[in-house]
């Protein structure tokens, strides 16, 4: 069967099981947009290429399947750089197809030419410049394999226009031949035994769970591990929902804005069992002062993470699910051989300490305060008024931290946010992608007013494509997190952070984009507005919550400080 390169690309995507592509056409990618008309693949036309990338990420985060985006050369490719970098940081499987100028024009500074493989090399797992149409099916198979296996991540296929127009003989081969791409095998039994020994010997262990557990689909394995060991769990920003918040063994989120108990448990632990976590600076604070008394078992599918920041006592390069199951099996065997070895009593003093911290330093805000609406109250009411399996999406900043702190996450893949790169504007397009991937679920974005202004145009996409996402803007009229840092570290010298609550008029803007727009200013209006939004299922809804500009995120470990220097809410007396 003779196909054009463009037809071969679309057929390859279909063969890979792709159901939806987020994209925006342009000159160099034009040949590929013709066969899309006849394809079973749903194409969602975004309004900006950044939206295509983040929507594909939201789709991938919600479903566990790779997200696919397609853009043209030059500015199309550069506009999707931010999503690529975001997906690289957060290990999101993403396949991006970029148009490229004809091979004969490459290197001549042709119209809309950029060196796409060159500039994306640092923010992708791998990329390919296809120079022969016959290579297209093989390249697509390799791209999906690399994006989805091991530590997932973004890849780019750069397709010159003449290659898309050339003809090739169709073939498909599921086997990929990448001699330099080797996935880790099963964990070494001796290393597992060493890990089991440390777990059994510890008296103040903490299970430090990162996004790798979600990526590996290891939540059930983790639940059995925790059941077996009775160990407390902290879930990082990327792992919220990997272990249920409503389980009493969950201490919440560690890190810069983590709960006092989660942060302090890591600091006082004698053993960290890190599953799919990378000792990010927002978790460790000052590395030299992080968990000073703890031995470390570090499990990660990416060998380069083992020892990158903190030297592990036991390092296991393996898929998280495989490793957790194998470790749990060893511990179960130990317990059978010696029932006393993992008895709950061994951790009783530790739990008494943890419970004491939880009692003294819960997450708090001024619940009954007169005056402006508290953003945390909006998050709590939203959680109460929405189904248990609602997917929550956030941008970056104060609203993201409040969402992570005050939502109750009980299921994996119900929390989607930009963790590593900290990409403002992530929420709206990512929510759209999540809703496309999980149309059965309610999808809410909690967004900041600063973030919303960066990518709100994608609500036009949502309206046009009938993707009924819901957006709660916590509108405090400021770039709030920057304001908070200026408040705390720059003597309240507020530089370029004021945005105004009324400019733009978010309700009229939402309506101009085909959404329902609502505005809420008082606590009494919160739940009725959410319930009204929840009943609308034929178009997007935006609620402009006018929240307290002065509110700050607590606890907080100042940047570069040791976790022991955690600053709790002003209403809570510091322990020392």
């Amino acid at each position: 069967m003779e196909l054009t390169g463009a037809q071969a690309l679309i057929k390859s995507l279909e063969t890979e099981g792709v159901e939806v592509v987020f994209g925006l056409p342009g000159g160099a990618i034009l040949p590929v947009y013709d066969p899309i008309i006849d394809s079973s693949i749903r194409h969602i036309l975004v309004r900006h290429e950044q939206g295509a990338g983040h929507a594909a990420e939201g789709y991938a985060q919600a479903t566990g399947r790779p997200g696919v985006a397609m853009v043209t050369s030059g500015p199309g490719a550069t506009n999707i750089m931010t999503p690529l970098a975001n997906a690289y940081m957060d290990s999101v499987p993403l396949v991006v197809v970029t148009g490229q100028v004809a091979t004969t024009a490459i290197g001549t500074d042709a119209f809309q030419e950029v060196d796409t493989t060159g500039i994306t090399a640092g923010v992708t797992k791998h990329n390919w410049l296809v120079t022969d149409a016959a290579d297209i099916p093989r390249t697509v198979a390799e791209a999906f394999h690399v994006a989805t296996t091991g530590r997932p991540g973004p890849v780019v296929i750069d397709l010159p226009k003449d290659v898309a127009n050339a003809t090739m003989r169709w073939y498909w081969d599921d086997e990929v031949d990448l001699p330099g791409y080797v996935l880790p095998g099963a964990p070494d039994p001796q290393v597992l035994e060493a890990a089991a020994e440390l777990v059994a010997a510890s008296r103040r262990p903490v299970c430090y769970v990162g996004g790798g557990v979600v990526k590996a689909g290891a939540s059930e394995a983790l639940a059995r591990f925790v059941e077996c060991t009775g160990m407390p769990v902290v879930t990082t920003l990327m792992a919220r929902g990997a272990f249920p918040d409503s389980d009493r063994r969950c201490l919440g989120m560690p890190g810069m804005h983590g709960s006092y108990t989660a942060v302090t448990a890591l600091q006082r632990a004698d053993l960290l069992v890190a599953f799919g976590a990378r000792f990010d600076d927002r978790v460790t604070g000052k590395v030299a002062a992080f968990a000073p008394g703890a031995k470390v078992i570090h499990v990660d599918v990416d060998r380069a993470e083992l020892g990158k920041v903190r030297r592990p006592d036991v390092a296991i390069a393996a898929d998280c699910r495989v490793a957790i199951e194998a470790l749990t099996a060893r511990l179960e065997a130990r317990r059978q051989a010696d029932p006393a070895s993992l008895s709950p009593e061994r951790l009783a003093p530790w739990w008494a300490q943890l419970d004491e911290w939880r009692r003294r330093f819960p997450l708090v805000y001024e619940r009954d305060a007169e005056g402006p609406l508290k953003p945390q109250l909006v998050v709590e009411r939203l959680r109460e008024a929405t189904p248990d399996d609602t997917i929550l999406v956030a941008g970056v900043g104060q609203h993201q931290m409040w969402a992570s702190q005050f939502w109750r996450f009980d299921h994996p893949r119900t929390w989607i946010n930009s963790g590593g790169l900290g990409t403002m504007g992530y929420a709206v397009p990512a929510a759209i992608g999540a809703k496309v991937g999980r149309p059965d679920r309610m999808v809410w974005a909690i967004d900041g007013d600063g973030c919303f202004q960066m990518t709100a145009q994608e609500l036009v996409t949502a309206s046009a494509e009938r993707i009924p996402v819901k957006v709660a803007i916590l509108n405090n009229a400021y770039l709030g997190m920057v304001r908070q840092w200026q408040h705390m570290f720059y003597e309240e010298r507020y530089s370029e952070v004021y945005l105004s609550p009324d400019l733009p008029d978010y309700v009229r803007w939402a309506e101009a984009m085909g959404c329902i727009g609502l505005r809420v200013s008082t606590p009494e209006e919160v739940t009725p507005a959410i319930e009204k939004a929840n009943e609308i299922d034929d178009r997007p809804v935006v609620i402009d919550f006018r929240t307290d500009s002065m509110e700050q995120v607590f606890p907080m470990v100042p940047a570069g400080a040791a976790n022991d220097d955690i600053v709790v809410h002003p209403s809570q007396v510091a322990p020392r």
Partner: protein, 175 residues
């Protein structure tokens, strides 16, 4: 240039890479963005046309050697990595130098060339071009011996190396 302390910091890592466009750029870009220092670099085809060999001398002060190797291993086009301990490897590079030849220094220059075992590849009335391949220290000593005569131009290649026989040179697949 090659003080003992510096030599111990310099590990030779040889990479068998797929012979594809842009592979050298990927390796160089990885070193750059992770802040690893490259001391020298040599690239050449291998006897198998599907692969090339990149020999990199890395400065392990900039990052732990294992971390550098682990990050390189993630490059999809890198098929095999071999790390050579400088104590247990034969390491060589090549020096080409054009040196001034004056009537009064003629004999001393010839002696220096002969002592080093270098080859004269070109000569004129007032200059000599010599070639020496060997251990970096031998090249350093030779360059120092040439210096008093007046070096017009000197070029050195990146280092290449092989493990000593019976030694534990270790290779591992990339990925």
């Amino acid at each position: 240039m090659s003080a003992p302390a510096a030599a111990a910091r310099h590990h030779l890592v040889t990479l068998r890479v797929e012979n594809k466009a842009g592979v050298l750029a990927r390796v160089a870009s990885l070193f750059s963005r992770r802040g690893y220092n490259i001391y020298s670099l040599a690239v050449a085809p291998t006897d198998d046309e599907r692969f090339s060999r990149i020999a990199v001398v890395v400065d392990v002060e900039s990052a732990p050697l294992q971390q550098i190797l682990d990050q390189i291993a993630k490059l999809v086009n890198v098929v095999e990595i071999t790390e050579l301990d400088p104590e247990r490897a034969h390491v060589a590079e090549l020096l080409l130098a054009t040196v001034r030849r004056s009537p009064e220094g003629r004999r001393a220059l010839e002696e220096a060339v002969a002592a080093a075992g270098a080859t004269v590849v070109d000569e004129s009335e007032d200059a000599l071009t010599v070639l020496l391949a060997g251990a970096p220290e031998a090249l350093d000593a030779f360059a120092a011996a040439l210096a008093p005569h007046g070096i017009v131009e000197v070029q050195r290649t990146g280092r290449v190396g092989l493990p000593t026989l019976g030694g534990p040179g270790r290779g591992r697949p990339g990925g």
